[in-house]
Symmetry: C2
Subunit: 264 residues, 2 copies
């Protein structure tokens, strides 16, 4: 499909005007992703509310801040930040970039609260830190997320990086963005599993309602990750070039026969 | 980058001849993926051998057949099956397809042994089946894997599906293939976590050597998934069209101005 678009590219410029309209099925997939994402957040809240006593900072309930913040920040908001370029198709590129960057900032702040909550809870309870696979993956997600944001900011928002440098880095940024998001979903699944096994123990195998609800939450998390990934990877759903970017890209292509910015 | 390749497509046919040579960095990435994959299998074996008493069918060790088979079949072999089109770049398309299909058959058979092992072990021990998130994800992987194989076989290997139908289904097949592979890696991580928490319990937080080894195994599994995904998604590493496919694609494009087979 990319190939076809590429082929049309140089046959007729009008094809771009038509590709600027939103693909027919995209809004339904985006709506479905949002429905799934909100269901994930609501189910996490329901699980913590019904089976874990709710949320508070100054008590044993402080732990519950951790899963809720992580699901909102590193799953829902991070997923939505990735979808920004598919949803805002005709807005100025810079506006879309700023929104993409800002959503990541919100995601990071919320996740930071979740991180502080669990370390603070462990400290008060005298529990060991960072021994589990979940915690190792979580720290990895945090470091990668932060580095990716810094590098992305300095290449794409901070003025200075050349057009050629941006074009070269863009595919890497896109890949690592998707990979960090998927690792976040995977880490959430590990954490959910950990919370279930610690609390339920042998009752898990008796199909306790909490276990069933949490399994459903796990499948919903995986489904949200899959739908976001599907929307991101559909070649014909990528954001079309705006008129000014297109002109720039044409000049650049003629000059270098090198990388083009169309492949974001 | 895809856009650029597409653009060159219709400017000069020679560009295809040059793109038929293997990209410089690809062999190193493939070698690294194989090193990681083999390390994952070896580490799984070491974990089961050193800390879980090894492997046997007719004893309590039957459980250990499960993780080993799943890691070999649904992680290592499935990952390699996806890489076939990146590695065999100049062989006949049909040969590569058959290899892709066969590797999936091997992966499925080995995974089936792993599945039988755990159900048989549960039956002998009187344990409940299919209550955990790991088991739900695992069954989902199995069903999706099987359906994907059947549909892929009937579209791409069984003669009958039209060129247009194949071109339309190909991107879906590629997406679901990658998604099922990633879900397999995620399910392996959940299983690993489960095995650790069941066995180690509170000792996990004391940084027992087994826990640390298993955490490292978890990170290796995630890294293998990430490297395979990276190789698959690099647009300029996709398999170039062969001469005969190219001719067919050109005819087809002229006829329909529709989907082209270059986007697999």
């Amino acid at each position: 499909m990319t190939r076809m678009l590429g082929g049309q590219d140089c046959l007729s410029m009008e094809s771009h005007a038509s590709s600027a309209s939103t693909p027919g099925a995209l809004p339904y997939y985006v709506a479905f992703s949002q429905l799934l994402g909100l269901t994930v957040v609501a189910t996490t809240g329901a699980w913590l509310g019904v089976y874990r006593g709710g949320i508070a900072w100054e008590s044993a309930l402080q732990f519950n801040v951790h899963p809720l913040c992580m699901v909102i920040g590193l799953v829902f908001l991070q997923g939505d930040a990735l979808l920004v370029y598919r949803v805002f198709r005709t807005e100025a590129k810079r506006t879309t970039k700023v929104l993409h960057g800002l959503l990541h900032v919100f995601a990071f702040i919320i996740a930071l609260v979740g991180l502080v909550a669990v370390f603070d809870y462990h400290r008060k309870k005298g529990y060991a830190d960072l021994y589990s696979l979940h915690s190792w993956c979580g720290i990895l997600v945090f470091v990668l997320f932060f580095v990716q944001w810094l590098v992305g900011f300095s290449f794409f928002l901070f003025p200075g990086a050349s057009f050629s440098l941006r074009s070269r880095y863009r595919p890497q940024h896109v890949f690592f963005g998707a990979a960090i998001f998927l690792l976040s979903v995977g880490t959430a699944l590990l954490g959910l599993k950990e919370a279930l096994l610690f609390e339920l123990g042998a009752k898990y195998s008796a199909f306790e309602p909490e276990g069933v609800l949490a399994n459903v939450l796990g499948l919903l998390l995986a489904a949200f990750g899959a739908v976001v990934l599907y929307i991101l990877t559909r070649a014909d759903w990528k954001r079309p070039l705006q008129a000014e970017e297109q002109a720039l890209s044409m000049d650049f292509k003629t000059l270098t026969e090198g990388d083009s910015p169309g492949s974001q």
